[in-house]
Amino acid sequence: MPRLSMMDRFHAAVLAIGGSGLVCAYWIAFFHSDLTLPKFVHNVTNPDVVRLATVYMGFESAFPLADLLVAVTSALAAFYLVGRDAKAVLFGLVASGALGFLAFIDISFNLLHGLYAPANLLSDSGLQMEAVINVSCVVGATWSIWRLWSHPLRRAEDRASRLRAMETASLDAAGN
């Protein structure tokens, strides 16, 4: 059984804090404060901006269910990584893939609606925070996938697959 290295401990902390804790904190803040909202959503004078704010809020409100998958699989990946179990790789790859996918959807929306135009980005601290979150998600997901792909646990057999292999071998032996 591979030992838990310092990098594995760091990886487990990133998955638990970044992938689970901060995602939960973001959504608690989203539903109970204005902390995560860009400034432009409070602009009620310009009808075009009001329309964009409505679309933006509708788009953002669709994310919690998808982020649930990221938060839970990240927590499971950290849980199994601490236990040096091969399932850490499975859940880690699911979590990282989902996180990267959601980050790219968010980036795509913000780019297509001009929210990441330099003038908007420089004047709105909420959008700056969103850009930092988007970049962190892409970098974190890429690093996690890269690391898990070359992790010794990826090649380690878990108990279930070992049992299946034994059953297949005994059936083959019985057949011969």
């Binding site: 689970s20 919690p64 649930l68 849980f79």
Partner: protein, 132 residues
């Protein structure tokens, strides 16, 4: 307060079912009390249920309730599995799961239902107490 009472009630039901089916056992009865009062009542009920879903419309908040409950549940199960050993699993399979580590992970995710049901039951308690 309604969230705390509802969560403790759910905790009692869950522990009664677990005891009836001999799913897990506690190292000391004190841990059973701590689990029902502190983990179910204070953390999942008051902490998660009331803070996230205790006030305002529930629409849209359900995934967040499950998310936070499940993440905390996995943390609690992880702490028990690797360090505390306050409760241990019996040899009985749980929905076909036989390994202790997998049972902990499964139950950790299932903790997500605790704040969800807590909020629903708490709202029923509040409605009943107001005679609505």
């Amino acid at each position: 307060m309604a969230c705390f009472i509802a969560a403790v009630g759910i905790g009692l039901v869950v522990e009664a079912i677990a005891r009836a089916f001999k799913l897990w056992s506690y190292r000391s009865p004190l841990f059973l009390v701590v689990n029902i009062v502190a983990v179910f009542g204070l953390i999942q009920g008051y902490g998660v249920g009331w803070i996230i879903g205790g006030h305002g419309a529930l629409r849209g908040v359900f995934p967040v309730l499950f998310m936070v409950g499940a993440v905390l549940g996995i943390l609690i199960e992880g702490l028990n599995q690797y360090w505390l050993h306050a409760w241990s699993w019996s040899d009985r399979p749980l929905f076909g799961i036989s390994r202790a580590i997998d049972k902990s992970a499964f139950v950790g995710v299932a903790w997500g239902f605790a704040p969800l049901f807590t909020v629903l039951v708490a709202r029923l308690i509040v409605k009943a107490s107001m005679g609505v």
